[in-house]
Point group: C2
């Protein structure tokens, strides 16, 4: 057990609940009227996503002595929202690979990805309404709006070399951390937990999400394609203002800035540009500084979860942020 | 007053409520983080849509002696859902014109349309959660899922010459009638009306929506571009299995079927093909038969609303379906 990764430990401890979540997902992604829907969805859902978000919901509910059957609904809700955003993201980014497989927009078409994403979002909404818990609905409605807002903001600041770290944090709080935060928080709320536990769960989810996204940004520059199930250099090619890029820009000299203006601002990229981008990031410690930030958020997450009473689940969640950052090393 | 169109009468009678709805829409479509959002949204919302769906919600609530402030929220919700689906539809259909103006996907890009649509959908969700009425949430969650399902079904039967009228009705109940039905029904539910009034409102909305969509299908073949604010022949060019097309296929001979196989199934279209398609529809009474169906649903809508107690609003709603069909003649 000691050698198992925290995520695998989490999956083992919560496997019974997770089986129920998976059955509910299968049941609710069906559509008699439109067989295209389960085709597209199962392509993505069966592709072996880590189910990190629903596991967080289940763990939070269990740690808070949940007595309702609705943690299952909420875990499925969170996974549906996540899957819907992936489908739309891949259209927006024109991505070709996700979880090591061709994306739905490539296998079917953009139209299917847009509409099936809408369907899953509606289905998530039905699932959460079934809990009958208005506080949960409020949290998830706000999270959904924050996600969409973050995605639009990301789109509008793409290619903008003046993007600040402050804006970057707005973007990733939206596109990533909002759902992590909501996933943890609703697990506490549905269990009718103390406010200070609910706040601790929310703050854990937020910090874990930020740490997760910063790590993802890093891996896009210095990871291996095999580990990621996606192509290295996607962010560079898509001219995305990710954290390592924002950091290297702060230190680049005039000649180097001309390189960034050509490749990121104007999007004129040649074969060796990605390698040179990486070289500049190493030269200016942009990758190291980004790792440092990821570790800061990992510590913050760990500290937040320590507010909850000691338990095997809490200890696993406390180990998880370090593991997320260590995907790097 | 007698000469005014029913929709204008509705707008006059409900103008005070509608002003509140418009203020709420303006307030909620804002986004400090991402200015692109209100830009895209106001392009569509200010373009002079008829606000038919929110007017239906307001009318239903007023007829049912609503005492809550939430009819305003629900009317705004319904308009946001509608606007979100328009943004996504225009991406899916690659449309270039909507309400007589270039579409958002043309002015900005598909990415903005997808993500701003997601944002509006989330905002609609926040608005409805604020009502605190779980029955309303259930109705709107189900309607959202039905809409998305109808849109996916429409996509998968496009170009399929074997599409039946039964499938066609599934598609339009989804893409159009579900929101009309929900818009009317939630007006009754929020007012805590008798079940038979709520059922009558739902059935009115369903029939009116079907009648509206069939008429839209017809106008796409025999309307005038000026009236529509969109291009005539879009359905033909997009190879959509609309009702006039399904009807003409039933009566086409072998040679004529070759024409449909080339133009609709294979999408190989030349300059004069649309005129010939129209000629065949007239020859086989496909347009006349479609008008007959539209009138059938108009009568059904009128009959449904007659269940409600006599009032000026009820009488306007009773006149509305005929007006919808008479856009034709």
């Amino acid at each position: 057990m000691q050698q198992q990764k925290p995520l695998d430990q989490l999956a083992s401890l919560l496997s019974k609940d997770m089986d129920e979540v998976n059955s509910l997902i299968k049941k609710r992604m069906a559509s008699d009227a439109a067989p295209r829907i389960p085709e597209v969805t199962s392509h993505l859902i069966d592709a072996g996503g880590k189910r990190l978000r629903p596991l967080l919901t289940l763990a939070a509910a269990k740690m808070c002595q949940n007595k309702t059957p609705f943690h299952i609904h909420l875990a499925a809700t969170v996974e549906f929202i996540h899957t819907a955003t992936l489908l739309h993201d891949d259209v927006v980014d024109e991505s070709k690979q996700r979880r090591g497989r061709p994306t739905a927009n490539l296998l079917w078409d953009n139209q299917s990805s847009v509409l099936v994403g809408d369907y899953l979002f509606s289905r998530s909404f039905q699932l959460m309404v079934e809990t009958g818990n208005l506080q949960v609905l409020d949290i998830l409605a706000n999270a959904s709006a924050t996600i969409a807002e973050g995605e639009v903001l990301q789109l509008t600041v793409a290619q903008n070399l003046n993007t600040t770290e402050e804006t970057y944090f707005k973007v990733i709080r939206g596109k990533t951390a909002a759902l992590f935060e909501a996933a943890c928080k609703v697990g506490g709320v549905i269990s009718n937990a103390d406010d200070r536990f609910i706040d601790a769960l929310a703050s854990y989810g937020d910090a874990l999400g930020i740490c997760f996204q910063i790590t993802d940004d890093l891996l896009d520059y210095n990871g291996k394609s095999d580990d990621l199930g996606k192509s290295i250099g996607d962010d560079f090619r898509e001219q995305k203002m990710s954290l390592p890029l924002i950091k290297v820009l702060e230190k680049s000299n005039t000649t180097e800035m001309e390189f960034w203006e050509r490749t990121i601002e104007k999007g004129e990229q040649n074969d060796n540009d990605f390698d040179y981008a990486l070289e500049l990031m190493i030269k200016h410690n942009a990758l190291k500084d980004t790792v440092r930030d990821a570790k800061f958020w990992a510590r913050k997450a760990k500290k937040s979860i320590m507010v909850l009473p000691e338990s095997p689940l809490r200890n696993i969640l406390a180990d998880l942020p370090d593991f997320v950052v260590n995907r790097l090393v």
